[in-house]
């Protein structure tokens, strides 16, 4: 099994294209961070204003408003993370997992592998593990890039950032407010680092979905495209389900929202509010594990029976 893992690892990381996704994530962080650095004074003034707005009286806020943890936190800010996590990282993870079987099927290399002694189950497991680890690596690399660029451009300091009540009232909700809390640097780094690790779990679940689709499709683009399609549909349904309860028309979407993959991909969300709701992290973690188990088992069963005609 270790040999198979090593072979899959070599196949993935000897390909230059694999590094393009890591490079794009770094570029994305830079593209966001550099203008903020250029307009640093204006951004700090806005943050100070947010911090004192509505509190009455005259406030004088001193100290550093923009510091290293700002960038990794900004990448997880709600409007941005939908695109970054649910689309970009999901796409990169799905491309690798989707190509893992379907891509090798269409290129004929799957045939070359499967006339060798390792069982199909072991081959599938090795591909799944490597695709999952790669998805985690993508999330961690985004975190590393955000931390690295953040500290390089803004230096050390505490985190001053808008508090999020929750992502559309999702599992991360509760415990938050609508202010601008200041989190000490040590705690901020711990919370953010753990958030990126948990983001990796969400990306790994996406990878198992893509691998499942890859186990019976003949082209990697099909597996990747369908995975993204599922995520987008799931995201749309989840958004409809997060509309306030007064809108009765969306009751159905509220009903299905807790079961959607995208709902639980944000399992790190409770770490971004003042009071961490660990039960919600665990709840979403279990849902992701369930998704991975179901997709993994179904994909394995299909792959074992698959006719290799290409």
């Amino acid at each position: 099994m270790l040999t198979l893992l090593r072979v899959e690892w070599v196949k993935l990381y000897r390909r230059k294209g694999t590094y393009v996704s890591f490079a794009l994530l770094l570029v994305l962080v830079l593209v966001i961070a550099i203008p903020i650095r250029c307009y640093r004074d204006e951004v700090e003034r806005d943050l100070r204003h947010q911090l004192t707005a509505g509190r009455g009286g005259d406030w004088v806020v001193g100290g550093k408003m923009l510091a290293g943890p700002f960038m990794p936190r900004l990448m997880l800010f709600l409007p941005l993370r939908v695109m970054v996590v649910n689309v970009l990282i999901a796409l990169f993870a799905a491309m690798v997992a989707g190509g893992s079987i379907a891509g090798e099927y269409s290129s004929g290399t799957l045939r070359t592998i499967l006339v060798r002694p390792p069982s199909r189950s072991k081959v599938y497991l090795a591909k799944g593990l490597v695709a999952g680890l790669h998805a985690c690596a993508l999330s961690l690399s985004l975190g590393l890039a955000a931390f690295g660029v953040g500290y390089a451009l803004f230096g050390p300091g505490d985190l001053t950032f808008f508090d999020e009540p929750s992502a559309n009232g999702g599992p991360g909700g509760g415990g938050g407010g609508s202010g601008l809390p200041i989190t000490p640097q040590g705690e901020a780094v711990q919370r953010l680092a753990l958030s990126y690790v948990l983001m990796g779990a969400g990306a790994a679940a996406v990878a198992t979905l893509a691998l499942f689709l890859s186990s019976f499709t003949s082209h990697s683009l099909t597996a990747t495209g369908v995975t993204l399609g599922i995520l987008l549909v799931s995201g749309v349904l989840g958004t409809l389900g997060s509309v306030p309860e007064e809108v009765k028309f969306f009751a159905f979407f509220r009903l299905i929202r807790p079961y959607l993959l995208t709902t639980h991909m944000s399992l790190y969300e409770p770490l971004l509010v003042t009071k961490i709701a660990w039960d919600k992290v665990l709840h979403s973690g279990l849902w992701l594990a369930g998704y991975a188990l179901v997709c993994g088992t179904a994909g394995l069963l299909l792959f074992r029976r698959r006719e290799i005609l290409c």
Partner: protein, 310 residues
């Protein structure tokens, strides 16, 4: 003789299409077996069934006396295979591809990789990426990966495709050497009948998924009647004399020569008859039937039989 490859009533259906139709075939140890047939006859499907890439609809494929269905991993440790177009990871070097495939086959020493690269004439290009290889070079690499684990059985599907004349001769000599010196059993399908005739000890002809002829190449070529050219002092009188013999079906004198069609084992009787008739025979030259002619004849007979059955 120990049976190495056995097909027992092997059948593969794709909806209404019967690709392999109750195939019964045995190849014993040390044979160099040529598996012949027109496009769509079921050759590649049979090879895929033998390697467990697809599952039979009925019947059983056995290698080394063990059903492929149940003993695939054990069996494939003793098999080297090249199925249709050789497929490799083209962003890796030829050598790296072999190293990975060797690892999947249970590992083999570096010296063995050097050896097979030398056998197929790729030593000088081993470090080039496969995408820079010509089709013929990929074919050689395909052969190399099949020989890597030092198999007892080599299954090759169209191994000569894309090779230049020098490459054809090298591969032909290599296969003969492997069979003669290393006791490998070789099962190869090919369209190059002249090559098969030179390389193979035995052949099987398959048409519409059924085996229509099977035997030693020499025996099959000696079947039925053959053509011979006779140099005799009076061809016209000789034609008349031979025309009365039951085993001579045709005797034509032209340009000072006599051309006859005679039962394969009766050439000596022809000579005796001519001498008895007082004719002076200066040469009796049998025109050896080629495998190509035999193939065409058998395929025509099969087509006639199929038409009559309908």
């Amino acid at each position: 003789m120990e049976p190495i490859v056995q097909c027992i009533g092997l059948t593969k259906r794709y909806r209404k299409l019967v690709a392999v139709n109750g195939l019964d075939l045995t190849v014993t140890r040390g044979e160099v077996f040529g598996f012949l047939g027109p496009n769509g006859a079921g050759k590649s499907t049979t090879i895929r069934l033998l390697l467990g890439l697809i599952q039979p609809t009925a019947g059983e494929a056995l290698l080394f006396g063990e059903p492929v269905r149940t003993g695939r991993s054990r069996i494939l440790r003793r098999v080297g295979a090249l199925v249709e177009e050789p497929a490799f990871y083209d962003y890796l070097s030829g050598r790296k591809n072999l190293e990975m495939l060797a690892a999947m086959s249970g590992g083999c020493p570096r010296a063995r990789i050097d050896e097979v690269l030398g056998l197929v004439g790729l030593t000088d290009r081993q470090h080039d990426r496969v995408h820079a290889y010509s089709h013929g070079m990929k074919q050689r690499l395909g052969l190399a990966q099949a020989l890597l684990p030092h198999p007892d059985l080599v299954i090759l599907d169209e191994p000569a495709t894309g090779l230049d004349p020098a490459g054809l001769i090298e591969i032909r000599n290599l296969l003969r050497r492997l069979a003669a010196n290393e006791g490998m059993t070789i099962f190869l399908s090919s369209h190059l009948l002249a090559e098969v005739e030179i390389i193979c000890t035995d052949v099987g002809l398959v048409s519409r998924g059924r085996l229509v002829a099977r035997g030693k190449v020499a025996d099959l070529l000696a079947r039925g009647e053959q053509q011979a050219t006779v140099q005799v002092d009076d061809p016209a009188r000789a034609a008349a004399a031979l025309g009365e013999l039951p085993y001579v079906t045709q005797a034509e004198a032209a340009d000072g020569l006599l051309t006859i069609h005679v039962a394969a084992d009766r050439l000596a009787d022809v000579n005796h008859c001519l001498v008895q008739a007082g004719l002076r025979v200066s040469a009796l030259i049998p025109q050896r039937e080629r495998l190509e002619e035999l193939y065409m004849a058998i395929m025509a007979e099969t087509a006639d039989a199929d038409a009559a059955a309908r």
